[in-house]
């Protein structure tokens, strides 16, 4: 093949009219884009407003709110009875094979058996919230990481990004019978539709209803997450981490604690008290 070394120049023929047209089109698009996607002209604007109601913060956990809901789980007390898992599955009507709250039998470095139970840890620096492309999972002002089931598109990126395996996808329409109802509680929330991710909410329905009645979540049973309320050995404590006088804040202050995968910087809201044999 003969090498051609002649370089041809590319000539750009733009007239003044073209430049003006281009400028008008650019400015026009810049103005039109927000109007059409989120602004008053948007067919979705109304919908978006509706969905935004109740979503008071987009950002970084409980920075501004009066509450920061947190939990302490005492591994030294936990006997691995799985009551928390059962009560959670009944109360939130979770698919029994994919519980939100799991109980794992573990061994410490000396071979001593202990039990680790794990709800969603409600990270203040949550990988799932960061990666969601549509803000379907977000922080409430009280630090809870919750889902908007009407917004989730089911891409499953949050599930992939969660370090704690705390998210479940709805692979099919639910027709199963919940084996833990009514023995372990009655469903307090609707089943989630097919095609969305779901997760533990610290029973936000109880917290919200309780606060509206003037109850104290963590003190009054009615306003406390099902897993905490049912624990027969009192291994779980729940409450407002921002209030130094709350039971949970005092338990954390008076015990050695750790959080899961602290190295990832997720700032979980669930603190664990290690078994007295150590980890």
């Amino acid at each position: 093949m003969a090498k051609k070394t002649v370089k041809k120049k590319i000539v750009v023929k733009l007239t003044r009219g073209d430049v003006v047209k281009l400028a008008v089109a650019t400015v026009g698009s810049i103005v039109a884009a927000p109007l059409l996607t989120t602004g008053p002209l948007s067919p979705f604007g109304q919908l978006k407003q509706q969905q935004l109601e109740g979503e008071t913060t987009g950002g970084h956990g409980a920075e501004t709110g009066q509450y920061h809901w947190g939990m302490a789980i005492n591994l030294d007390l936990c006997i691995g009875c799985e009551y928390c898992m059962r009560a959670c599955t009944a109360t939130n009507d979770v698919l029994a094979s994919d519980p939100w709250n799991v109980v794992i039998q573990e061994k410490n470095s000396a071979g001593h058996t202990f039990f680790l139970s794990r709800p969603c840890l409600h990270c203040q620096n949550a990988p799932c919230v960061e990666v969601c492309p549509v803000k379907a999972t977000y922080h409430r002002e009280d630090g809870l990481v919750v889902m908007d089931y009407d917004r989730c598109i089911g891409c499953r990126y949050c599930q992939v990004a969660c370090p704690y395996d705390a998210r479940q996808f709805n692979w099919e329409d639910r027709t199963d019978e919940n084996p833990y109802v009514p023995a372990w509680g009655e469903p307090e929330i609707e089943r989630r539709p097919r095609g969305v991710i779901e997760k533990c909410t610290f029973c936000k329905q109880r917290i919200d209803a309780g606060l509206a009645k003037g109850l104290v979540p963590g003190e009054d049973r009615e306003a406390t997450p099902a897993c905490v309320e049912i624990c027969p050995v009192g291994a779980r404590t729940f409450g407002n981490l921002k209030d130094p006088n709350s039971k949970v804040a005092q338990v954390i202050a008076s015990n050695p604690t750790f959080r899961l995968r602290e190295d990832l910087g997720t700032e979980a809201s669930v603190y664990y008290i290690p078994p007295k044999e150590g980890l």
Partner: protein
């Protein structure tokens, strides 16, 4: 002796027999694909083999691969319009068509993969600017618009637009913008081609994903393999349509470019393996790789699939002059580079998810290693996307003035 010559064209079949067979093949692919997609929409993702521990699989692989394989459009546009190598001009329209096929394939694939296809538009309305996936979605949307704008002048040249001279004029106006679109396309493409790698690279809890080189590997492999795909399409369409498409010296030059690109990618891959993965490893990374090597064919698919098939074989076929001149060898090289890309995306996605998360503070419990092999319905939808892409390419080559045009 005089005979009257009727003013009509000599009668010939509108399609060559090869083309008819090809159309039949495409129809079979599309039928299988549409049937599978309907099954998924009726029954939900439960009929796939995806699970809560391996929620991404074949479809995400197809999705990432088709975007990477469409990278020829921005690479070649940049070469022609920014670096001024005007000799490659004759392939630009085909490259843009291949890019369009790749990007729309990815969108089609995502539509089936997400749990709620009815909410596909949410990322455009409910922005989460912190999400790399949102950034990728927006970039892909914008880039698809750029591709359409670049391609509009070609479409208005068809006979159909004889009736609408105003649209044709507008098309010619858009054509003047091509160099600017090439710059914009380059910027946007470098961003999202690498961000697709960042989609994995930022996930802190997954040991074999979390590394800063992930975006680099994605963007480099796309730049190297994308143009090779365009070359293969040009040759194959030539065989099917029985007509010259792009001058062969242009295709040979692009194949050489792709060969050099693959070698560069191969070198960076070596650097990544040594500097980032081996010397920069943490205990988590080491045990993750040990697990993959013991329990999955990860090593085999890495060395044979990604390195041999994806880099060395096509580099030889593109760079050794004897093979470079041979269209069949070039197509083989293109297919092999494509396979390399697809295997790389598969290894990243599925390999990364196979490694179980470790979050417990104890010493004995370990989540089971992930298992996944695509279900028939997943292969079916994959075939739909391939059938769709091939149909777009075929129709484009058949009906649009992609070749032999005069550039002003």
């Amino acid at each position: 002796m005089t005979t009257t010559t009727l003013p009509r064209k000599s009668f010939q079949l509108p399609f060559s027999p090869v083309f008819l067979v090809w159309l039949g093949f495409l129809a079979v692919l599309l039928l299988i694909g549409v049937y599978s997609a309907i099954q998924v929409f009726i029954h939900g993702l439960v009929i796939t083999n995806l699970t809560d521990s391996v929620p991404w699989g074949l479809w995400i692989t197809v999705d990432l691969s088709s975007i990477a394989l469409g990278a020829g459009a921005f690479t070649l546009s940049a070469i022609v319009y920014i670096f001024g190598i005007k000799r490659l001009q004759p392939i630009i329209r085909l490259a843009v068509l291949v890019g369009f096929a790749g990007y729309t394939s990815a969108m089609l694939m995502l539509l089936v993969d997400i749990g709620r296809p009815d909410r596909f538009w949410h990322p455009w309305v409910f922005w989460n600017v912190h999400s790399v996936l949102w950034e990728v979605t927006m970039c892909i949307t914008v880039y698809l618009m750029i591709l359409v704008t670049e391609f509009a002048p070609v479409i208005v040249e068809t006979k159909l637009f004889d009736r609408w001279p105003a649209l044709r004029k507008f098309g010619h106006f858009l054509h003047k913008l091509t160099p600017f679109l090439a710059v914009l396309g380059l910027v946007i493409s470098l961003l999202h081609q690498s961000s697709l790698g960042a989609t994995y690279g930022i996930v802190k809890s997954r040991p074999i994903w979390f590394k800063p080189s992930m975006p680099i590997m994605f963007v480099l492999s796309a730049i190297a393999a994308g143009p090779a795909v365009t070359v293969s399409v040009a040759y194959v369409m030539e065989w099917i349509m029985r007509k010259r498409t792009v001058p062969h010296d242009v295709l040979q030059l692009i194949a050489r470019f792709s060969g050099v690109g693959l070698l560069a990618y191969g070198y960076i891959k070596f650097w990544d393996m040594a500097a980032v993965t081996y010397y920069g490893r943490t205990p988590g990374v080491s045990s993750a790789f040990a697990l993959l090597q013991q329990q999955t064919p990860y090593s085999f698919s890495f060395w044979v699939g990604e390195v041999l098939l994806g880099i060395l074989v096509p580099a030889v076929l593109f760079l050794v002059p004897r093979f470079n001149r041979n269209p069949a060898a070039a197509v083989l090289g293109g297919l092999s580079a494509m396979a390399g890309i697809i295997i790389h995306r598969w290894n990243v996605t599925v390999g990364g998810l196979f490694v179980p998360l470790s979050y417990t503070p104890g010493t004995s419990f370990q989540l089971p290693i992930g298992t996944y092999f695509p279900a028939p319905v997943e292969w079916g939808v994959g075939i739909l996307v391939i059938g769709y892409a091939l149909t777009v390419l075929t129709l484009g080559v058949r009906f649009l003035p992609l070749f032999n045009h005069q550039e002003h």
